[in-house]
Subunit: 387 residues, 2 copies
């Protein structure tokens, strides 16, 4: 059986291991620490630093393909490894679009994909010019490294924008700006693509954010017209194909309402790996995103993405401000006592306020009931109380 | 998080690891070899011999509970470990009913559970007497150690029975005999029970045997009346409770037709662990038997056993007479190319004729289509051709 080497030791690599086992494989994990989320559960762990090319070389020794659970491996290393004959999936030419927000937006605009107005910000003057062009509706972003609401700013006025930009450029942070959209809600379109070019999309989901962090995903997105479901899936497949993505691609989307109150879609971010908004597929879909990612990077045929229930709701288990005294195992017991159908997934991570330490999936045909219950379970797991 | 120590290194322990990971745990495995099915995929492996009590002691060091993927640990060791304070689940008092076919039948008869007429066979005279009592319809069984059709004989006449019994008793094999039933089909009723006494049953399935080995499981059993479904689930729950089983219990059943052509049920065998006829739950049920086994032995509340599809068919991948040249990964590719919804599970085992090396699950609403496709996939995986 093939060996897939995953660079990264977080929960995404951990859940790839679950899928790998059932496919008859066992993951090779390049981990920063032996007690990291993925290293805890894999037999074949290489300890090392993903920014060190020699550690990467050790990790892929004898492996069939190298893939990632994050986008932070330096692309120059990937180019070098490819030159040495390593099968890297996805390729750095695709990955750069998940690493650099400006590169991605330029590319998507070229493709005709809907993105809000944007500009490179290389000086305070650029920022002021963009501020005027969009009537002050500015969202300032670090081009690289931001996630979960980090690296994103909404300056209240031009003075705040000017000082922010001066400070950030001074500190060496490359910037871009985008027109703030009148957000109706966030959606996510996930798709997988193989090196041979096969693509398969899951249903588009609604993603509910709290404080910039995904709190919930509802599959499929409620009250999304069949037409918009279809066109948005098509958009994700087109992006995957045009950018040459391999493995799983998450297209994070804004839904706004146009002047006729009709929903409109804009691309927000791309992620080229399994994604938080795809965790629902573990319990609500024929093929989970983790199995699909492995199949895709190995250039195997992709699995069916049919759903197994009317609705699947995923609620993130996010560390509370303080960790309750009740042991986690007891919290799980309490949750299951009340909801025997709650699918609890934990990442083997310790407490930290706001930290993603797990998620709960729940399937059902009554959307409001399913949502309420999934959220209640996730809440209990970090608060040890129901309200 | 708790540590579950599993004694045994086969595919059942391997698939428990899959479930353990998602529950935030990681299994401790007592394995006979580092390349065994379960040891390949677990981070915490103790190499040792499950018949050696010192190895068992090493394996349970620091674990919360000890459980099994087979029934072959000597019960005297289990009694000793319990005396030393180890939390063994299931208990040897329950396990003996899965180890000794005569003990089990006596106990079930006491409980009023339906079993075919049977007798202890301690001499050739016992055998002849039983032969006459059941009009020659004799099935001779080794009391211990038989599985997958091994340890079961159907003598054609009294002379063959006599010589078989003489030879086996001579060789030190304790025996029993049972009246051969006019088998209509085989069923399996699976249930889980916690030490606190909660039980939860899955739908009763039909189990199709080939050469004494399970080839296929169909969930739920087709054309089983709602009444018989219910009473059979109740029977399995009663057996689990009365025998004090903890973890998963499989009740293998014979279905015969009475003189009015009405189906009747008899218990055939018991297994106290996840079971081949429960593999369908991985893809067709809210809670898989592997997750349920872990929850049960940890005395957690049990998970919902609702199905996710009208039908789920499990087809075993059984080693062909010769191993085709096509690599297994290529065979998987061919299967998925044709059936993107085939859920392939492989155990990391090499080829041997008849060996269980994996299974394929398929869900659907058209039973015949689902069966045909699941069987075709399993066939291709070992024959590298469709017919």
């Amino acid at each position: 059986m093939p060996i897939v080497a995953v660079i990264g030791d977080g929960q995404l690599a951990r859940m790839m291991q679950t899928s790998a086992i059932e496919l008859g494989q066992s993951l090779r994990v390049l981990a920063g620490a032996p007690d990291s989320s993925a290293a805890q559960v894999a037999a074949d762990v290489v300890l090392g630093d993903y920014t060190n090319i020699d550690d990467l070389r050790v990790a892929i020794e004898g492996a069939d393909v190298m893939t990632f659970d994050h986008e932070h491996v330096p692309n120059e290393h990937l180019h070098q490894l490819i030159a040495e004959g390593v099968n890297v999936q996805p390729r750095p030419e695709a990955l750069v679009n998940a690493q650099d927000k400006l590169v991605m937006r330029k590319r998507l605009r070229e493709l005709g994909a809907p993105v809000p107005p944007f500009a490179a910000i290389e000086s305070v003057e650029d920022a002021v010019g963009f501020f005027e062009a969009v009537d002050g509706q500015v969202c300032l972003k670090a081009r690289r490294g931001g996630y979960d609401g980090k690296g994103v700013w909404f300056p209240a006025d031009v003075a705040e924008l000017q000082s922010l930009v001066a400070e950030l450029l001074d500190g060496g942070t490359p910037l871009m700006a985008e027109k703030k959209v009148a957000l109706n809600r966030e959606l996510s379109a996930m798709v997988a693509r193989t090196p041979s070019g096969e693509t398969k999309a899951w249903p588009v989901v609604e993603s509910v954010q709290k404080n910039g962090v995904c709190a919930e995903a509802i599959a499929p997105a409620p009250e999304l017209s069949a037409e918009l479901q279809e066109s948005t899936r098509g958009l994700a497949q087109k992006i995957a194909t045009e950018l040459g993505v391999t493995g799983v691609l998450a297209v994070e989307l804004f839904e706004t309402l146009d002047q006729n109150s009709q929903p409109e879609i804009f691309v927000n971010e791309l992620a080229m790996r399994p994604h938080n908004t795809g965790h629902w597929t573990q319990d609500g879909c024929v093929t989970s995103q983790f199995e699909q990612h492995l199949r895709a990077v190995l250039d195997y045929p992709l699995g069916a993405t049919d759903t197994l229930a009317d609705y699947t709701v995923m609620a993130n288990v996010l560390g509370a401000d303080t960790d309750p005294e009740m042991p986690m195992a007891t919290r799980m017991v309490e949750v299951w006592r009340k909801y025997p159908d709650a699918k609890i997934h934990l990442y083997g991570k310790g407490h930290r306020p706001g930290r993603k330490i797990g998620h709960v999936n729940m399937v059902g045909s009554d959307l409001e009931k399913t949502r309420t219950e999934a959220l209640a379970c996730a809440y209990f797991l970090v608060n040890a109380r129901w309200d």
